[in-house]
Amino acid sequence: MSATTVVGLLPLGVLAVAGIVVLMLAAFSRRIMPAFVATLAGLAAALACTGVAWLRVPYAAGALLSFDGFVLFGIVLIAAAAIFVAVSSWAYLAGGKDNGGEYYFLLLVATLGGCILAASSAFASFFLGLEMLSVSLYALIGWRRDRGIGTEAAIKYLILAGASSAFLLFGMALVYAATGTMDLFRLAAAATGQGILAPVGLGMMLVGIGFKLAVVPFHLWTPDIYDGAPAPVAGYIATVSKGAMVVVLARAFTPAFIGPGGTAGAAATMAGGAANGLAAGFPWVFTVIAALSMFAGNLLALREANIKRLLAYSSIAHLGYVLVAFLAGGQQALRAVAFYLVTYFVTTLGAFAVVAALSSKERDADAIGDYRGLAGRRPWIAAIFTTMLLSLAGLPLTAGFVGKFVILTAGAGAQLWALAVILAVNSTISIFYYLRVVSAMFRGPETAALAGTPGGRGSAAALASPAIPFLAALAVAVLTLAVVALGVYPSPVLAFIGTFTTGGF
C-alpha cells in the first residue's frame, strides 16, 4: 500500500474507527453526550482527512475504490450532512429520553456506507456501500419503537430495499455473465454488447439504483418512510442516501451512456459516445424517468397536508431535476450536478432540521396545522422555514434559484429543450404547495382553536416543545446563511467545483 492510498483512505478509516468508538461508548455509558461528541469529532476528522486526501487525487485503492475530485466532493457533502443530522438528532433524541449511543453508531456506519458507495469503482464495493447504508437505515427509520408508524416504515423499507438489492445483485450477475467484468466503469461495454443478458442485467441494476434515488416508478416507498422515520433521519435519507447514489450515477453512467467526459473517462467531447446498440436507448430511459419524477413528485405533493410526506414528494421531483442535469452529459453536467447537490443538501437538511426542531416528545411536527400562525409564535424559525421552502421552490435570493438556473443551463447547453420546459412547468407547479405551507405560517392563529384536540395530530399544544437548544439553532442558522449566500453570491462554490471538473465554471 502506497502512502497515497493510506492517506487517501483516511476519511473512510476515520469514520470506521469513530463508529467502533461510539459503539464502545454506547456499551459502557447510557448517556448520549459522549457518543454525540465522539460522532461529531469523528465526522470532523473525516472532513479534515478529506482535505488532506484532496492533494493526492486522482488515486485508486485496488480495483474496488477510486477517488477523484468529484468523489471527495461527494464525501465532503455526505460527512457535512451527517454532522448536521447528528446535531439535529441530538435535540430530537434528548427530547424523547432515548438511549442515543447506538443511534450515532448507526449514523456513522450509514455515512461510511455512503462514502464507500460514492467512491466505488467495482460491483463489489458498490454493493457493499449500498448495503451498509441500507441496513443502518432500517434501524434508524424504526428508531422510535414507541410509534407504530415508525416500525411500519422500517419494515416497509426493509422489504422494499431488500427486494431492490436483489434486483441489483442479479443484474450485476447478468452483466458479469455477459461481459466478464465487474468494473463499474466498463458498463458501456455491457451496453453495446449484442446479447440479451447485458441489457437485461443493466435494466435490473437500474431498478436498484432507481429505488435508492426514489425516482418514478421506484418512488412508492418515499412518503411512507419519510413520514414514519424520525425527522432527522428522513432528512438523512433525502440527502446522503440519494446524494451518494447520484455521485455513482454521474461517475459510472455518464461516460457509459450519456456521453464521454465523466470524471472517470476524461475525454471532454460532448455527446455521441456510445450511440450504437442498446446504449442509445438508455438516455431515453433516463429522460422518461426524469420527466415522470418531476411530474409525479410535484402533482402528488399538491394535495398533501403532511409536511414530511410533502417534503418526500418534493425530493422525488428534485431528483428529477438532478437527472435533467445528469442527462446533459459531459463536464457541464457534472458541474451542474455537483452544484445542485450542494443546494439540495443545504436546503433539504435545513427544512428537515426545522421540522425536527419543532417536533415534540409525542410526535413530529408534520401536520400543516402545526405551522399555522408560526410566524406570530416563533418569527425566526418561521422565517427560516420560509427561506428553505422558497429555496426548494427555486426563488431568487435563495440557493434553489441558482441551482435551478445551473441545471437549466446544463440542459439547454445539451439541447434538452423539452426537459428544460418540463422543468420550468414543474417548478411552477411546485410553488403552489410550498406557498401553501408558507402562507399557513404567516396567517393568523385562526385555527389554533381547531387544532385543540388534545394530543391529536394538529394539536398546537403538543408543539409547545421546549426552546430549541443552542447547537440545533446554530446548525439551522448556518444552513440558512448558506442558502442565502449560495443564492446571492454562488461564485466561490462554482469556482471551487470548477477546480475539479475540466473546463471550469
Partner: protein, 496 residues
C-alpha cells in the same frame, strides 16, 4: 453606482422598518415613506441631469454600472438607465409614496411586515427597470413576486387566498418560460460566438434561425404578456386587483403591469427584431381584442374594484398596440400610456379603496347618491372617470392619441377597432361614476369625506395627470432617445 441605490434603499429601509416596527408601528410607515422619497429625489436629480446632457453620447445609457457577479457563468451585476428606465423609476417612487400614504390608516395588522413586503416589491420593480444583465433581470423579475403574493394573501379582501395563488402561478410560469428562453439565447449566442454571456447588449444581434428566434421570443413574450396583461392571459388580473389591499392594487396596476410593457420594449423587441416583426400582426390583433374585451367586461361589473381592474386590461392593450406598431409616435405613446395609466389607475384604486374603507362594500348596486355625502370624493372620481375615458386635457388622451396616430399608417383597421374601445370606455367610466355618486341613495350611508392625507395624495396625482396632459413634453423628450434606439435596433435586425 448611484443606480444600485434604487434597489438597496427600499431593501435596507424596508428591513429596518420591519425591525423597528416592533417598537413602534409608525416607524415602519415613515421608513417606507422615506425610502420612496429618497428614490424620488434620486430620479429627480438624474432627470435634471439628463435634461442638461447633450443628446449624442456614445452610450445609450444615462448612467450605468457593471460588476462581476458570477463570472463562471458569464453573469455580471449590470445596471443601466436610459430615459425609459428613468421615467418608470420616477413613477415607481411616486406611486410608492402614494401607496404608503394610502395604507397609513387602513393597515393595522403586521404593519412592519406589510411595509417590508411593500419595499421589497418596489426594490424588485426598480431592479427590473434597471437590469441590463438578463440573469439579473430574471432574478429581479421573480424577486418581486413573493412579497406581492404576501401583500395579497395576508392583507387582501374576502377571496384573497385564491387570488394570490392565481396571480403567483400565472406570473411564475411566464417568468420561468422567460428564464428558459434567456438560457436558450445565451446558448445560441455561445455556439455562434464562443463567448458565454448574459449581457443583453452583447446578446443583441445574435444570429439565429427564424424558428429558433421565434421560439425564444415567445418565451420572453409569455412572461411579458402575462404581466401586461394581454388578452387572453389576463385572467389573474381581475382577481388579484380586486382582492389586493389598496396599496397592493396601486402597485399591481401602477407598476407590475408596467414591467411587462417595459420588458417588451427593452428586451423582446431589440433581442429578437425579426421574430418581433413577424409576430406583430398577432400581437396587434390580441391587443385590439383586449381593448374591446376589457371594455365590455368592465361595463358589466358590479364590483367597483373589479370594474377598474378590467379597464386596465383595456388600457394596457394600447401599450401593446404602441409597442408592436414599430413607429416612433406609437412607441412614445405606449410609454406615455404606461406612465399615465400608472398614475390614473393608481389614483382610482386609492379612491375606491378609500370608499371601501368607509362603506365596507365595493358593490355598485349598493352605492348611489354619494356625491351629497362626500363631494370631494365625487369630484376626484369625476376627474378620474374622465381620465379613464381619455378626455383631452389629461395625459391619458395624449398617450392614446399618439398610439392611434402612430398605428394608423401600419394598420388602419386596428386603429379603427381600437378607437371603438375608446367609445366603450366612455360607457363604463360614466356608468361607474353615475352608479356610485349620482341618483338617489340606495342605502343609508353615514360616512366622512376624504381625509387631509387622502385629499392631498389624490390632488397631487390628478394635478400630475393634468400637467402632463397639457405639457407631456418632458416625458416624451426623456424617452426620445430610448425610443429611437429601440426602433433602430428593430429595423436593423431585418437581415438576421
Amino acid at each position: 453606482m448611484i443606480l444600485i441605490l434604487f434597489v438597496t434603499v427600499p431593501l435596507v429601509f424596508g428591513l429596518a422598518g420591519w425591525g423597528l416596527g416592533r417598537l413602534r408601528t409608525s416607524l415602519s410607515r415613515w421608513l417606507a415613506l422615506a425610502a420612496n422619497a429618497v428614490n424620488l429625489c434620486l430620479s429627480a436629480v438624474l432627470w435634471i441631469g439628463a435634461a442638461g446632457a447633450g443628446p449624442a453620447a456614445g452610450s445609450p445609457w444615462l448612467a450605468e454600472m457593471k460588476a462581476p457577479w458570477i463570472p463562471g457563468l458569464g453573469i455580471s451585476f449590470g445596471l443601466g438607465m436610459d430615459g425609459l428606465s428613468l421615467a418608470l423609476l420616477a413613477l415607481t417612487a411616486f406611486l410608492g409614496i402614494a401607496s404608503v400614504l394610502a395604507s397609513w390608516t387602513g393597515i393595522k395588522e403586521r404593519v412592519g411586515f406589510f411595509h417590508l413586503n411593500l419595499s421589497l416589491v418596489l426594490a424588485g420593480v426598480n431592479g427590473v427597470f434597471l437590469a441590463t444583465d438578463l440573469f439579473l433581470f430574471a432574478f429581479f423579475w421573480e424577486l418581486m413576486l413573493i412579497p406581492m403574493y404576501f401583500l395579497i394573501d395576508l392583507w387582501g379582501h374576502e377571496n384573497r387566498h385564491k387570488a394570490a395563488v392565481k396571480f403567483f402561478l400565472f406570473t411564475q410560469i411566464g417568468g420561468l418560460l422567460m428564464l428558459v428562453s434567456i438560457i436558450g439565447l445565451a446558448v445560441v449566442h455561445g455556439m455562434v460566438s464562443g463567448a458565454w454571456t448574459f449581457d443583453s447588449r452583447e446578446l443583441m444581434g445574435t444570429a439565429m434561425s427564424p424558428v429558433v428566434g421565434m421560439l425564444l421570443m415567445l418565451g420572453f413574450f409569455a412572461a411579458f404578456a402575462v404581466k401586461l396583461p394581454m388578452f387572453p392571459l389576463h385572467t389573474w388580473l381581475p382577481d388579484a386587483h380586486t382582492e389586493a389591499p389598496t396599496a397592493g392594487s396601486v402597485i399591481l396596476a401602477g407598476l407590475l403591469l408596467k414591467t411587462g410593457g417595459y420588458g417588451l420594449i427593452r428586451f423582446a423587441l431589440p433581442l429578437f427584431p425579426a421574430a418581433s416583426r413577424a409576430f406583430a400582426p398577432v400581437a396587434i390583433g390580441l391587443a385590439v381584442a383586449g381593448i374591446i374585451y376589457g371594455g365590455i367586461m368592465a361595463f358589466s361589473q358590479k364590483d367597483m374594484k373589479r370594474l377598474v381592474a378590467y379597464t386596465s386590461v383595456s388600457h394596457l392593450g394600447f401599450v401593446l398596440l404602441g409597442v408592436y406598431a414599430f413607429t416612433s409616435l406609437a412607441l412614445s405613446g405606449a410609454i406615455l400610456q404606461m406612465v399615465s395609466h400608472g398614475i390614473s389607475t393608481g389614483a382610482t384604486f386609492i379612491l375606491v379603496g378609500a370608499l371601501q374603507d368607509r362603506i365596507h362594500t365595493r358593490d355598485l348596486d349598493r352605492m348611489g347618491g354619494l356625491w351629497k355625502q362626500v363631494p370631494r370624493m365625487g369630484a376626484a372620481a369625476l376627474v378620474l372617470a374622465m381620465a379613464l375615458v381619455g378626455l383631452p386635457g389629461l395625459v391619458n388622451f395624449v398617450a392614446e392619441f399618439l398610439v392611434l396616430l402612430g398605428l394608423w399608417p401600419v394598420s388602419p383597421v386596428a386603429t379603427v377597432l381600437a378607437g371603438v374601445g375608446l367609445v366603450i370606455a366612455t360607457v363604463y367610466a360614466l356608468r361607474m361614476f353615475q352608479a356610485a355618486f349620482h341618483g338617489g341613495p340606495r342605502e343609508k350611508w353615514n360616512i366622512s369625506d376624504l381625509s387631509a392625507v387622502e385629499t392631498a395624495v389624490l390632488f397631487v396625482m390628478i394635478a400630475l395627470l393634468v400637467v402632463l396632459g397639457v405639457f407631456p413634453q418632458p416625458v416624451l423628450r426623456l424617452v426620445e432617445r430610448a425610443v429611437s434606439g429601440v426602433l433602430a435596433l428593430v429595423s436593423a435586425g431585418g437581415a438576421a
